[in-house]
C-alpha cells in the first residue's frame, strides 16, 4: 500500500501579516513557516496505517519553493519514507487549480493507492485542492474525514455530516480523502526520527509553467475593530450589557 500525503508549508498561525509592496501578496521577509496543521493530521492518519502494516509506504508530496525543504524533513522525521518536492518559487501564491494540476501530474507518475490532503491549508483558507485533485485524477473523494481505516480494497472514512450527524463512507481504492482533526494527535519527531530523516530520499521535480485561473487583484489588511470596552464588573454589569445589546446592538 502506497499512501501519498500532500503537504503545504504555510506561515505559522501566530504570524503578523504584512502586505508586500506589490499590494497583492504576503510580505514573507520575517515569516516563520510550518507544515499546515491539517496536513499533519493527514500524515498522522497515514503513519498509523503504516504502524499497523509495515508494508505501507508513506510518501510526502509538496509544491514548494526550491529552498523550502525544512518542512519536508519534518514530515520525514515524523516517519514518512520519502518525499517528492515539486519546486516552484511561486508556490505560495499559486491558485488551487494550478496547485492541484501540479500535484496530479506528480501523483499520476508516481502512482498511489490512497491520497490524503488536509481539509484546508491555513494560508489562503480555501479547502479546494484535495477535491480538485480527485477530479483531475478521476478518483472518488470524501472531504473533511475525521477518521479512516483500510479494509481490503476500500478505505472506510468517517466524517461529520451536517447538524451533528456522523457519516461513514466505504470508498474503493485508489481514492482521495481530505482530513480534518479527529482523535489522532500528530506525533512529534523524536531525535532518532530526525537523524533518520537526513538520509531519506527527496525526489525533485520542476513544476510545469502554468497560468493561474484565479488572480488576486488586491490584498489588504482588514479594518480595525473599534477598541474594546469593559462595561463593568461581575453580575452588576449584566443589566447594562443587556441594555446595550437591546438598544445599541439591537440583537434582542
Amino acid at each position: 500500500m502506497k499512501i501519498m500525503v500532500c503537504v503545504k508549508r504555510v506561515p505559522a498561525t501566530d504570524s503578523r501579516i504584512k502586505i508586500a509592496a506589490d499590494g497583492t501578496s504576503l510580505d514573507t521577509t520575517s515569516i516563520e513557516w510550518i507544515v499546515s496543521p491539517y496536513d499533519e493530521f493527514a500524515l498522522e492518519q497515514a503513519l498509523q496505517i503504516k504502524d499497523a502494516d509495515a508494508d505501507t509506504e508513506v510518501v510526502i508530496v509538496s509544491l514548494a519553493p526550491a529552498a523550502a525543504t525544512k518542512e519536508l524533513r519534518t514530515c520525514l522525521a515524523m516517519g514518512a519514507d520519502s518525499a517528492i518536492h515539486i519546486k516552484d518559487d511561486q508556490a505560495n501564491t499559486r491558485d488551487a487549480f494550478t496547485t492541484a494540476s501540479a500535484l496530479a501530474d506528480a501523483i499520476r507518475d508516481a502512482g498511489a493507492d490512497l491520497i490524503l490532503c488536509g481539509k484546508m491549508a491555513v494560508d489562503h483558507d480555501q479547502g479546494q485542492v484535495g477535491t480538485l485533485l480527485a477530479y483531475k485524477l478521476d478518483l472518488p473523494c470524501v472531504t473533511e474525514v475525521r477518521d479512516l481505516k483500510i479494509d481490503g480494497n476500500e478505505v472506510i472514512a468517517e466524517r461529520a455530516g451536517g447538524g451533528g450527524t456522523k457519516e461513514t463512507y466505504a470508498v474503493p481504492l485508489p481514492a482521495v480523502l481530505t482530513v480534518t482533526k479527529g482523535d489522532k494527535e500528530p506525533r512529534y519527531a523524536n531525535l532518532k526520527g530526525i537523524m533518520k530523516a537526513k538520509k531519506k530520499p527527496i525526489e525533485e521535480l520542476e513544476a510545469a509553467a502554468g497560468a493561474d485561473h484565479m488572480t488576486v487583484k488586491v490584498m489588504e489588511l482588514p479594518p480595525e475593530r473599534p477598541a474594546g470596552r469593559i462595561v463593568g464588573e461581575g453580575v452588576d454589569a449584566v443589566s447594562e450589557v443587556m441594555r446595550l445589546l437591546r438598544e445599541e446592538a439591537k440583537v434582542l
Binding site: 487549480f97 479547502g127 473523494c141 455530516g161 450527524t165 461513514t168 482588514p222 461581575g234 449584566v238 446592538a249
Partner: protein
C-alpha cells in the same frame, strides 16, 4: 452585468435555508438573470421563496442528493446548459463540499468563503478573507464561470420578486467522481443549529473549569436561540467535540452576537470570530486579550455572570 447566475438553493423539507436566500440576494446585486437550482425532496416547495428573492427561473432537479458527486454534476450540467457566468453556493457543510467538485467538473477554481461580491466590467470580483481573516483579498477568475461559496451571515437577505418560473431540470446519469458509498448515517442526539450559520454563538473556554460546567454555556446559548462554540484548549482536553471549535484550526463564525466566556482571546481563536458583528467577553482577568476586541466586556466570574445573563435573556424573551 449580463448573463445568467446560477444559485444553488439548499432547503429543509421545502423551506429554503436563510443562507441560500442570502446567496439569491447577493446574486441580485450582480445584475443579470438569476436561476435557482433546487434538488431533493420538496424542491418545488422552495420555488416560491426563490422567486420572491429574485430567481427568474427555478430549476428543480430530481438528482439523488445523497450522492454529492451526482449532485455536483447536475449543478455543473445546469451551469453549462445556461452558460452561467457564476455559480453561487453558501459556504455551509454542503456548499463547502459541492463547490470544489463543481470547480473540478467545470475545470475552474473556486472563490471560497466570500464576504462580498461585485462586478468590474464584465467580470465578477469576490472578496474573501485569507490568513484566517488577518488579510482580505479581491480575486477574479479567468474562466468563463466563477464558482463562489458565500460566508453565512455576510450578505443579508432582502426580497426582490422575479418571475420564478419552475422548470424541471432532467439529470443525466452521473459519470464522475463516484465510487464513495455512504454506508451509514448516525443521527445527532438532538438537532443542533449549525455553528457557522447561527445568529448568536456562545463559546466557552478553559475558564469553564470542566465539561460538567458547560450546561451554563448551553443554557445561555439556548436562551438566545444560538449555538455553542468552544476554544481549542477545551476541545483538546476532550471537554467538547472538535465540531464546536472556533478558530484558525476550527470553524470561522460571523454571527451577529458572539459571547466568549472564560476564553483568553489567543490570536488563533480571534481568527475564527473577529468578524462577528458584536462581541461580548466574560473573563475574570481584566488584562485578557479578548477584551481588546470585545464591544462589551464584563470582568467577572463566569459562574456568576453567565447564569445571571441567561436569566435576563429569558425574562426579556418572556416579555415579548
Amino acid at each position: 452585468m449580463a448573463g445568467d447566475i446560477l444559485v444553488v438553493v439548499e432547503h429543509e423539507g421545502g423551506t429554503a435555508k436563510r443562507t441560500s436566500l442570502e446567496a439569491l440576494t447577493a446574486a441580485r446585486a450582480l445584475g443579470g438573470s438569476i436561476t435557482a437550482f433546487v434538488a431533493g425532496e420538496g424542491a418545488s416547495d422552495a420555488a416560491a421563496a426563490c422567486g420572491a428573492h429574485g430567481a427568474e427561473t427555478v430549476l428543480t432537479s430530481d438528482v439523488d442528493i445523497a450522492s454529492r458527486p451526482a449532485w455536483a454534476e447536475a449543478i455543473a450540467n445546469a451551469a453549462k446548459a445556461r452558460s452561467s457566468k457564476a455559480v453561487l453556493l453558501s459556504n455551509t457543510a454542503v456548499g463547502k463540499d459541492l463547490g470544489p467538485r463543481i470547480g473540478g467538473l467545470l475545470d475552474v477554481g473556486v472563490a471560497s468563503d466570500c464576504i462580498e461580491l461585485h462586478t468590474d466590467g464584465d467580470s465578477i470580483v469576490a472578496r474573501r478573507p485569507v490568513f484566517a481573516g488577518k488579510a482580505l483579498v479581491n480575486v477574479t477568475g479567468s474562466g468563463s464561470t466563477m464558482v463562489a461559496t458565500l460566508r453565512p451571515n455576510a450578505f443579508g437577505v432582502s426580497e426582490g420578486a422575479a418571475a420564478g418560473n419552475v422548470e424541471a431540470f432532467s439529470t443525466d446519469a452521473p459519470t464522475k467522481g463516484l465510487g464513495a458509498v455512504l454506508r451509514d448515517i448516525v443521527a445527532a442526539a438532538e438537532k443542533k443549529i449549525e455553528l457557522t450559520e447561527a445568529n448568536v454563538v456562545v463559546s466557552g473556554g478553559r475558564g469553564m473549569k470542566g465539561p460538567e460546567n458547560f450546561h451554563l454555556i448551553e443554557e445561555l446559548a439556548a436562551a438566545f436561540g444560538g449555538a455553542v462554540g468552544a476554544s481549542r484548549a477545551v476541545v483538546d482536553a476532550g471537554w467538547r467535540p472538535h465540531s464546536e471549535q472556533v478558530g484558525q484550526t476550527g470553524k470561522t463564525v460571523s454571527p451577529t452576537l458572539y459571547i466568549a466566556v472564560g476564553i483568553s482571546g489567543a490570536i488563533q481563536h480571534l481568527a475564527g470570530m473577529r468578524t462577528s458583528k458584536f462581541i461580548v467577553a466574560i473573563n475574570k482577568d481584566a488584562e485578557a486579550p479578548i477584551f481588546k476586541v470585545a464591544d462589551y466586556g464584563i470582568v467577572g466570574d463566569a459562574f456568576e455572570v453567565v447564569p445571571a445573563m441567561t436569566k435576563a435573556v429569558q425574562e426579556l424573551k418572556a416579555q415579548v
